[in-house]
Symmetry: C2
Subunit: 355 residues, 2 copies
């Protein structure tokens, strides 16, 4: 009898990695290209499945596991996050869980640099000069609409970037800024529980010299006060909730720019709106935002023109490139195949702490 | 008697380089911070001036020179361009002309990278998902709103960038893309009249290796067909008018992105609108545009949603950063001082061909 794999999401060309296998029965949510999989379809079709492919929108909980029955060996999600999956439960059943970290590092780093440039150049405001038909009457003066500059120049040779969360994506952003834009100094806040990463930092700095002059772990006060561009790349959860709050934002420079590609909950939206409106900081670029996706023009960061023109909000598309999503799909397909075949996944979560 | 310097534009703090000199009478257009200098004010106040400071909005022609009288020794413009200045006339009167090239290279290169990222990620479209209140009902699927990726990755290691116009700014863009984003291959079209720059290219390539794998001069056909990201950084004028036309755009890839930080006249707007609407290319980012500044929502690139969502238009602000505009102002002030003092300008035009 063929093993069954249920696919709730669009894998693009990588689906053929599954369908080309004669020994598998692959059941795909028929409208996967355009819509999210309804819960009812999942619960009905998952019965008897050996493998399950989901995105972060499908909750994989007791109900799904029960509906699947005892044959389920692999759950593979096309995402870095796994909050939607009941890990202790799957661990107790010896079901492998695959996910797709690392492959989206470059796409998200590109997005962070884009948001830094858009927020510093205030593109919401400047493009609206054109679309509000104001360009032809615009009075050109040398400093009108001028902005903080991301890159260093021979006549302005120091730029400090700060990172809240200094993992793979942050380091990919740093490589872009140091080598590409001449950024000279870097500060970050280490995780409270982690030992000092002296060796790692020395190696990083060596790899980025002579462009980068310094790389230092600092406290939150210094991070706020010294960053010309501050990148939030920390994970969500209670430990990081509202780390960027009113007192942090008040310590920043009026020319500084905030970028969030981490999690929306790290930045207090109400405080940020106040900071932008009153000019405590220059601008913000957000790929993630509190209460997403339930964010529209009524949101505190979008409701008022004085805030909106300084704040770019993109709907969580940091990793949304053709190449990266295709690689995430490939990895998701390979993970579920390995799991169903009883092999170790190419990129599987370590569930040891629950086993 | 004090020498008179007439200043039509805002020099910011650099104005003090002039006003601190006791031997000068500095006359400044009183509303320079907010508005352009009226022609009548210029003509009235320029009488008897030794030096004149302008921006690109002030035509310096026979009328102005006549109004100034025979004492005029220096005209200094806070711009790279000098189309607004009657160079043969000033040359014939031995009046020095100062301008501000080079200093804006980094600011414009930043803008070009920003536009490349915005056009590839289609930020007009993606931010409108938020501002049109569509995010909460948005159906997340892995390839929805996905885009071409600027950076290379371990699983997608080739990216070709093309340049129409390969001067200082282009090379600054290339440094950002190669070192920062891992771009692997570069092509450009040489100026028709120029000899092959074999030595320069070899040196450039050596400086960008091992990141950059190739740097080649190509014809327009190859530039169109092979560029994943195409940067227009050519000067204006009849020689470059509509070099990017319908036949060029038809040869590009459906995933390719066009960026124009050169001159609006190089790109045929009507052809570009068609290319975007019909999907010949992916997107466009424009800091300059035909008929600017008389461009509003009626423009062919802004009138239709299917075009507008793929086309970012910024109102010619490539060099508009605090640091760069301040340096341009400093250079403009120093140039006029040198000219009035009878010394060679720090950055003066060579008027030899008219003398």
């Amino acid at each position: 009898m063929k093993k069954k794999i249920v696919v709730c999401t669009d894998l693009g060309p990588a689906l053929s990695l599954l369908t080309l296998r004669d020994d598998l029965d692959v059941v795909v949510w028929p409208d996967a290209v355009d819509t999210e999989c309804p819960r009812a379809w999942l619960l009905k079709n998952v019965q008897g499945a050996s493998g399950l492919v989901v995105c972060f929108k499908e909750r994989v909980d007791g109900e799904v596991i029960k509906a699947a029955g005892p044959g389920l060996r692999a759950v593979s999600t096309i995402s870095v996050g796994y909050d939607h999956i009941d890990l202790p439960l799957l661990a107790s059943r010896n079901i492998q869980v695959g996910y797709t970290p690392d492959v989206l590092t470059d796409a998200v780093a590109d997005s962070a640099v884009m948001l830094a440039l858009m927020a510093s150049r205030r593109t919401n405001l400047t493009t609206s000069v054109v679309t509000s038909n104001a360009w032809s009457a615009f009075q050109w003066t040398p400093f009108a609409l001028s902005a903080p500059q991301l890159s260093t120049t021979p006549f302005s040779a120091k730029r400090t970037v700060g990172f809240l969360g200094f993992g793979r994506i942050a380091q990919a952003v740093l490589r872009r800024l140091t080598f590409g834009f001449g950024v000279s100094d870097t500060i970050y806040t280490p995780r409270p529980e982690a030992p000092p990463q002296v060796m790692r930092d020395a190696e990083l700095l060596r790899g980025l010299m002579p462009n980068l002059h310094s790389l230092r772990a600092v406290d939150m006060h210094t991070l706020a006060a010294d960053s010309d561009f501050l990148f939030v790349l920390a994970p969500g959860g209670e430990a990081t909730r509202h780390l960027i709050d009113e007192s942090f934002l008040r310590r920043m420079k009026p020319t500084s720019v905030l970028v969030n590609n981490g999690r929306g909950s790290v930045v207090d939206s109400t405080a940020l709106a106040k900071a932008l409106k009153e000019g405590w900081i220059w601008g913000a670029g957000l790929d993630v935002i509190e209460e997403e996706p339930h964010v529209g023009v009524g949101h505190v960061l979008l409701a008022e023109p004085e805030v909106r023109e300084k704040c770019v909000v993109v709907p969580h598309l940091g990793s949304a490139t053709h190449d990266t999503r295709a690689e995430m799909a490939r990895l998701t397909a390979v993970n579920v195949l390995r799991g169903v075949d009883g092999e170790q996944m190419e990129s599987g979560l370590d569930l040891g702490r629950w086993q």
